[in-house]
């Protein structure tokens, strides 16, 4: 056995030649707006004193470049690295919904991300090395639902009204909940960093925080949209109205609506729309 093993080891070397990156072409044009495709939600847990998080955000952004509209990003500031600290880290970007998710999914390292709140290799909160693997495991699956989301924003009262229609594309026996999360991008604020290819080390004072979870209209766990199972073709509608905080820039805000299996908590479908 030892001799056989010795001989099998000899060819066990894959030495790669430069160039190490093989061109695959440009990203695809993305789905037709009327086309029903599965869209995945990437919820990244982060914090402004987390030195590895800018690299995680850069990876998430790079995945967005590749998967386009099929990947929706969300940045959740929670945990010890999101706590306000001494200047210039006095801001508090935590939310009740983010804290609830951080605790429920037992997030212990940052950055980590959930992909559709679906376990990959028995874990919910995944480290950066497997984000693309987890996305690839789901992205090409046919959709189970389709979300139509329309928004109206009234500038004087800062009131945002949303109309949502959810069409289920398959039969299910479970209940479904729907969540409406408000995100804001373009927030300039300090961020610790230890990767010089991302920005200045040890901190980026004018770091641009994007896709930041600002509020969950109906809480971290949303509200019921379908109970006792659904049939293929069944359509459920709902509306919501929320007021944007004065400190949020409505031009950089977006709503993410997603439907999830109330038993497993796995996201079934997601949709994103800018406020303006």
């Amino acid at each position: 056995m030892i001799v056989l093993l010795a001989f099998t080891l000899i060819p066990s070397c894959d030495v790669e030649d430069d160039p190490y990156l093989v061109p695959e072409g440009k990203p695809g044009p993305g789905p037709d707006p009327t086309e029903k495709v599965r869209k995945l939600l990437l919820e990244e847990f982060t914090g402004h004193t987390c030195v590895n998080c800018p690299e995680g955000a850069m990876l998430a952004h790079d995945l967005k470049n590749q998967y386009g509209e099929q990947l929706i990003l969300m940045s959740i500031h929670a945990g010890a690295f999101a706590e306000p600290s001494t200047a210039p880290y006095t801001a508090d970007y935590r939310t009740q919904a983010g804290n609830d998710l951080n605790a429920y999914y037992n997030v212990l390292f940052y950055p980590s991300a959930m992909i559709n709140r679906t376990k990959y290799n028995s874990q919910y909160a995944l480290f950066t090395g497997v984000w693309q693997d987890a996305i690839e495991a789901l992205i090409n699956l046919p959709p189970d639902a389709h979300i139509d989301l329309s928004l109206e924003y009234e500038a004087i009262t800062r009131t945002l009204t949303g109309n949502v229609s959810v069409e289920f594309l398959n039969d299910f026996t479970c209940d479904f909940n729907i969540c409406f999360y408000l995100l804001e991008s373009g927030i300039i604020s300090a961020q610790k960093n230890d990767n010089s290819s991302v920005g200045t080390v040890p901190e980026i004072l004018d770091y641009e925080h994007n896709h930041m979870l600002r509020d969950a209209y109906n809480g971290a766990w949303g509200t019921e949209i379908a109970a006792g199972g659904v049939s293929a073709g069944q359509v459920e509608t709902t509306t919501f109205t929320m007021t944007l905080h004065d400190g949020w820039n409505q031009e950089n805000c977006a709503i993410v609506a997603f439907v999830y299996n109330a038993t497993t908590k796995e996201v079934v479908q997601a949709e994103e729309k800018e406020v303006m």
């Binding site: 056995m1 090395g129 693309q132 230890d194 290819s197």
Partner: protein, 574 residues
Amino acid sequence: MKKIIIIGLLLGMIFPLRGISQSFLENGQVHGNFQIDGAYYGEDSKLGITDSSLNGKYFRMNAFGNIAYTNGNFEAGLRFEAYLPPLAGFDPAYEGAGIPYYYVKYKWDKLELTAGNFYEQFGNGLILRAYEEWQLGYDNSIRGFRAKFQPVTGLTLTGLIGTQRYYWEPYQEGNRGIVRGFDADLYLNDLLPFLKGSKTQITLGGSFVSKYEKASKKTISRDSIQDTVVTKYIFSYKIPENVAAYAGRMNLTHGGFNLTAEYAYKINDPSEFNDYIYKEGQALFLSMSYATKGLGISLSGKRTDNMSFKSKRAEIGNVLDINYLPPLTKQHTYSLATIYPYATQPLGEMGIQGQIMYTIPKKSALGGKYGTQIELNYSNIRSIKKEQVSADIPIDSTGTKGYKSPFFTLGDERYYEDFDIVITKKFSSKWKAIVSYINQLYNIAVVEGHAGDPKVHANIGILDITYKITPTKSLRMEAQGLFTDQDRGSWAMGLLEFNIAPKWFFTVMDEYNYSNPDEEMQLHYYSGNIAYVEGATRISIGYGRQREGLLCVGGVCRQVPAANGFNITISSQF
């Protein structure tokens, strides 16, 4: 149940059922050990521990039980573990209970076969070391087959194949790789007639390890700018599915003198840990020592360059390491000396360590009636020098060779420096003292990821005095001080330990962070502990507050969170 069936089948391969006789069971021996570590955590507002952060998990427990059966050349065993849930600071992915380790082994005249889980090391571990460290929550055992063959005296050949432990995850293609290894160890004094009986003993060795891991899609987008028009392109990484490493070593002993050298080389191994660069890895380890009565001197040096070697390329945690890189730093045991422990940097470091141990003879003027032991240690670890592979490729750029590194050039960054002197003296049959001074430099930005924080310069003084009240009762006192202007500031520590040999041990201790720059964190970390020992059984109960820190064993570290509460440990062996 599944594992018991597997063990049964493995037994059946070696011993057909009709061959098992009453004598097989009668002549056998059963031995083992177990340990239970439990803790009940309480709230502590000063440490930021609240009911919410405890999340209902007030009582936590890590436990294991080893059992082995031996009968002549046959051995079988298993280890049961439970983390219900894991103690604070241990990876929550271990939560659960089961049998992660089981094996059968049989040794014939020249051949030993193991089926199941095993631990193994080739040379100094530079390309393969599978081991377990309970305190760290570290276990990278290999599950598969191993054969050791000695065709002639002095030549040992080892071959192995298997998959490494990954929490409780059964192996599936894609969740980690397969490890194969081969090692040859030649003791020349047995093989070469002219060396037989010589005072000079020479051992040569060579090893080859390869991992196979199925490639998964890994892509990156890059911008191309032409006439102010930015176009995105997608590139996929070439992923080598078979990554190999090989090493050569020698060991020479002549009287009290010993020389060890090992060199390792790893082919391209792009991974999450090295940000997907394609540079080869190298490691060199050298050690010389001399020992005679009353004197021991050793000098070691090492260089590692891109030598993280894991059986899962996407993994960045303390799991699935195929190899082990010696730290070349002293493993301190006094508590304040362990506040700044060094964690080996697999991506690149160079270091030296020198140690001298001398016993001033007893009944001499300096040595006194009982003699005096002096120990000196010096460690210095630095970065390696990195240069661009070409002018247009920044160092460590993903998807490139990464960098080039002149082999004998030191890098500019100091990672760790440690000078310490320890003097141990017994004054009389009742009094004994240990005095120690340590000077440490600790690059907290590199070792703990505190980017931007200044290096910690610490001076540490330790006084350890034991007074034997009676032949069975003794009192031990420790006083320690760590003095620094960086990080959490200075500490003072006091400990009293009262022992009633051989069964009872009582300890009270306090560590006081008296000069923490945050006045609210100038806290006392107090604790009390009672231990009882009866034969091979030890029971210990304690209460107190534990400071946040790092626990390192052999350069591999685990974060220890701050905690408050009761703890209990029960251990025994049979």
